[in-house]
């Protein structure tokens, strides 16, 4: 390494800043300039940016409240990476260069510039060097914390850590050195997470997983795709519902990038449940949902049938909805200027406001280098005022103030109502300079406020800066959702559709159990929900945790069944079994294919309530075409997931068949989600194998 190599640093190109960012910076600076009148005030106005915390932030990854496949994967990688990175940072810590550098307060020397101006007014010089001294002091304070930081960098798989000390491991190779481990761990962690997957439900933060649950999950994990089961030996199927949809976003991202997603990333149930289906809803919140069962011929298996179970959560009428008291805390720093950031957030929030009730209130706080209240709590009845305040937001338009997050909590508290939904929605591209100087302080604050009934949700936008881990952690501490939106449609889905179900859970720990009638059904297979399988006895055990349903949520489960006595079966019948016996026991109910049972708890209850429905011939349709469009579309999505993940059960059914099945079933598709699905199927078809 010669001085010459290093000389190239000054000529290496630097990617230019965006014009919007510069404009935002200038306007923020002028704003601040206008606000700081007089030297006395200005001298105290230097804002300290976030300074390092001394508290580890690695706790309770297991209790994240929202499942997102990608995040789960990244978390798993972090867990794997941690020991390596920790070792590296220890080495840094012991580095004599570093320590001596930090420990010795070095005297200042003046530059030539300064020396040449030696004669200038002594007072002025003193004033200026005061500033320098203050900056020095700040810098030293920060530098002292550096050592702590080194120990804290552990969970960071980024290149900088990998390089931190000689001999450096190859860039991030270590964290990924055990690919199987990463993948396994990723899925396992995701399981743990999804079992707690209550979205924003106030009491969903179960701190542990029942051991048996974990075991059965592991077992199913390796299975990948649910196997065909024989009713004679295994007549009961039990699973937890799942309203997570992250796998779909994940698959979409891969396909849009021109490649097929890894098969393990494709979760049929999450893809099916990404879409909203118009199943008949329950009538009252006391019985929060009712199942709709349809039996149709399978489009991919001759002689087989699909048993389609659709559940729609009771949709709280506006009168029954608790009042919402929301505070939007919006990052308006320079990097928020591009269209997929602040403008996206504004549009998303605008749609949310349109969806709210007149008595709900909204306030807006912005932050960048400082923070400011852009809108005091305002009732939705005064919608024009809210929309005007939203319109007025621009990147860089922040004002110097105390602390964004404190302002936000203050406003939420000002309007606090015990029975209302009190929530802060933080929208950012990853800059958490919300005003507190310390992450652990920030988390403590969020946790404290959660205990007091004010929750925090986070909407992430943009790609470069996006800090998933911290977002998830903060949201988790605040008992909220962390979601990522890259398009307006996604922002709408997250903010508007999911807001309702997120804000207002109607049932929790929802489990499904189907007992098949051996007289009628020879074999069955559940499509998806592999990771959600429960043991038969878990169904009645209220201690076993399961998924939650929010207001208006829909959940779909599809079984593929082979009638008893079919010529072609996947599993040979037992030679020594007693074929006469099951038929005999089942004869009293021979019009029943099976019996569906659902257990759930009302949000405030700790004991479950069962509902049940016989799956009878009366629910069977002669052809798939006779089924409602939503049913057909969900079957198409299931088929797509099966093909994508290389399931052996769909035979020669291919992408074209998926398109043919889904196209006429698109329905009204007001937000273009179903059309987007069709595009994804076409992309999958053309993606390199």
């Amino acid at each position: 390494m010669t001085a010459k190599d290093l000389d190239s640093l000054k000529s290496l190109p630097v990617p230019p800043p965006r014009d919007e960012a510069k404009a935002a910076a200038v306007s923020a600076a002028l704003d601040a300039f206008d606000k700081s009148s007089g030297a006395a005030q200005a001298s105290t106005a230097i804002v300290r940016p976030i300074s390092p915390s001394t508290n580890s932030s690695r706790r309770s990854l297991m209790t994240l409240t929202r499942q997102q496949y990608a995040l789960a994967a990244s978390l798993a990688a972090l867990v794997v990476a941690a020991p390596v990175a920790f070792h590296v940072s220890r080495t840094v810590e012991q580095d004599p260069v570093e320590l001596s550098g930090n420990a010795t307060p070095a005297p200042q020397v003046a530059t030539k510039d300064e020396l040449s101006k030696e004669k200038s007014d002594a007072d002025k010089r003193r004033a200026s060097s005061d500033l320098l001294t203050r900056l020095d002091a700040e810098r030293k304070r920060a530098a002292e914390a550096e050592v702590d930081i080194a120990g804290e960098r552990a969970p960071e798989p980024a290149a900088s850590t990998a390089f931190a000390s000689p001999p450096p491991p190859p860039v991030a190779a270590k964290p990924l050195a055990a690919p199987g481990l990463v993948a396994r761990d990723a899925t396992r962690r995701m399981e743990a997470w999804s079992s707690l997957g209550a979205i924003g439900a106030a009491d969903s933060q179960a701190p542990y997983l029942p051991a048996q649950l974990e075991e059965s999950r592991d077992r199913f994990m390796s299975a990948g795709v649910n196997p065909v089961k024989q009713v004679a030996t295994d007549p009961v199927s039990t699973f937890s519902i799942d309203v997570d949809t992250a796998s779909y976003a994940f698959v979409r991202r891969a396909l849009n990038a021109g490649r097929l997603p890894p098969q393990s990333a494709v979760r049929a149930e999450e893809m099916i449940n990404y879409f909203r289906y118009d199943y008949p809803a329950a009538e009252t919140p006391a019985e929060p949902f009712k199942p709709t069962v349809t039996v149709v011929p399978s489009p991919w298996g001759a002689d087989k049938q699909l048993v389609h179970i659709g559940i729609k959560g009771y949709e709280l009428k506006s009168a029954e909805r608790p009042r919402a008291n929301l505070v939007f805390l919006i990052d308006v720093s320079g990097s928020m200027a591009p269209a997929d950031r602040l403008p996206l957030v504004k549009n998303g929030l605008r749609m949310l406001v349109e969806d709210m009730q007149p008595d709900d209130t909204v306030a807006i706080v912005t932050y960048a280098s400082g923070s400011g209240v852009a809108l005091e709590p305002t009732r939705i009845a005064d919608k024009a005022k809210i929309l005007a305040a939203l319109d007025g937001l621009g990147a860089g338009g922040s004002t110097a103030g105390a602390s964004g997050i404190e302002d936000a909590y203050r406003l939420a508290a000002a309007n606090f109502e015990k029975t209302a939904v009190n929530r802060i929605i933080l929208a950012t591209d990853g800059d958490f300079n919300v005003g507190l100087t310390d992450d652990s302080q920030l988390k403590d604050l969020i946790e404290r406020k959660r205990a007091g009934g004010i929750f925090l949700s986070i909407l992430g936008v943009g790609a470069g800066n996006y800090n998933d881990r911290l977002m998830q952690e903060l949201a988790q501490n605040g008992n909220g959702v962390a979601a990522y939106a890259d398009t307006l449609n996604e922002a709408r889905k997250v903010l508007v559709e999911e807001a309702a179900s997120t804000l207002f859970p109607i049932a929790k720990d929802v489990k499904i159990q189907v007992e098949w009638n051996p007289a009628r059904v020879g074999e069955y297979r559940l499509i998806g929900y592999e990771s959600r399988a429960l043991n038969r006895e878990d169904f009645n055990n209220d201690k076993v945790d399961a998924g939650d349903i929010g207001s208006g949520h829909t959940v779909t489960a599809i079984y593929e069944i082979t009638p008893a006595g079919a010529a072609v079966t996947s599993v040979d019948a037992l030679r020594y079994g007693d074929p006469a016996k099951p038929a005999a026991t089942a004869s009293p109910a021979s019009s029943e294919l099976g019996f569906l049972k659902i257990r759930y708890k009302l949000p405030a209850s700790e004991t479950s309530t069962p509902i049940s429905l016989p799956i009878t011939d009366a629910l069977a349709l002669p052809s798939l075409d006779a089924a409602p469009a939503d049913t057909r579309f969900s079957i198409a999505v299931a088929a797509f997931a099966e093909v994508l993940r290389g399931s052996p059960h769909t035979g020669s059914f291919g992408y074209d068949d998926v398109v043919n099945l889904a196209t006429p079933a698109r329905g009204a598709d007001p937000y273009g989600e179903r059309s987007e699905f069709l595009n994804l199927v076409r992309l999958a078809k053309s993606a390199p194998r």
Binding site: L6, D7, L9, K10, L12, V14, A21, A25, V26, A28, A29, D31, F33, A39, A42, I46, S51, P52, A70, A73, S74, V92, V97, E98, G101, A106, V109, T111, D121, K124, A127, S128, L132, L135, A142, A145, I149, E156, P157, A158, A159, S160, F163, P168, A172, A186, F250, R253, A254, G334, S369, D439, G462, A463, G464, N465, Y466, N467, D468, L470
Partner: protein, 186 residues
């Protein structure tokens, strides 16, 4: 740094800064406009990512506005602004170091265990930038100030708050370390 880049038909930085300190908004606007790119470049050299550099630069501009009133003109405005930019960038980086920046597309990479995520912009000289940014902070700062920002050792010393000798020593150590790092990359 030694040359003022004030255009002849324009006031010098120091004159503008003096006027801005006295409350002249326009003078301040000209100053910010004139120095934004330089501040941004410094921020990028430290952070390696445009998004972050833009955020840092905005923060620096706001801080300049808040403290311009204390500017008395005994040091070059540029040195003064540099110092503010430098401290802000370093603080920002320090605060961000513990945070994992992963794009969803990079998460995919993690699952596939193909590639390490790259938080930085992809640019020419990536390996060199990365190696430099991975140095212990003081060595990194010395290298970036002297080589990337093209300051003299004395100027770098002033900004770093240490002696010229210490700067030289940091540079010496940095070169040794970089050699090892870059050999490993190659």
């Amino acid at each position: 740094m030694s040359d003022d880049d004030a255009r002849p038909d324009d006031a010098t930085d120091e004159m503008l800064a003096g006027r801005a300190a006295a409350g002249d908004r326009r003078a301040f606007a000209v100053l910010i406009d004139r120095h934004y790119d330089r501040i941004y470049r410094l921020a990028w050299r430290w952070s390696g990512a445009r998004d972050r550099a833009e955020d840092i630069a905005q923060e620096v501009c706001v801080k300049l506005a808040q403290s311009i009133a204390t500017f008395r003109g005994d040091a070059a405005f540029k040195t003064w602004a540099y110092r503010l930019a430098y401290t802000t960038a370093v603080d920002h980086i320090r605060a961000n170091q513990r945070l994992v920046t992963l794009e969803p597309s990079d998460m995919m990479a993690l699952v596939e265990t193909v590639h390490a995520p790259e938080a930085e912009d992809a640019v020419a000289g990536q390996d060199l930038w990365r190696a430099v940014r991975s140095l212990p902070p003081q060595q990194r700062d010395a290298v970036l100030l002297v080589y990337a920002e093209d300051l003299s050792h004395a100027e770098a010393a002033l900004i770093l708050g240490c002696t010229e000798k210490t700067v030289s020593w940091h540079l010496h150590e940095a070169r040794k370390r970089l050699k090892i790092i870059l050999d490993q990359v190659a």
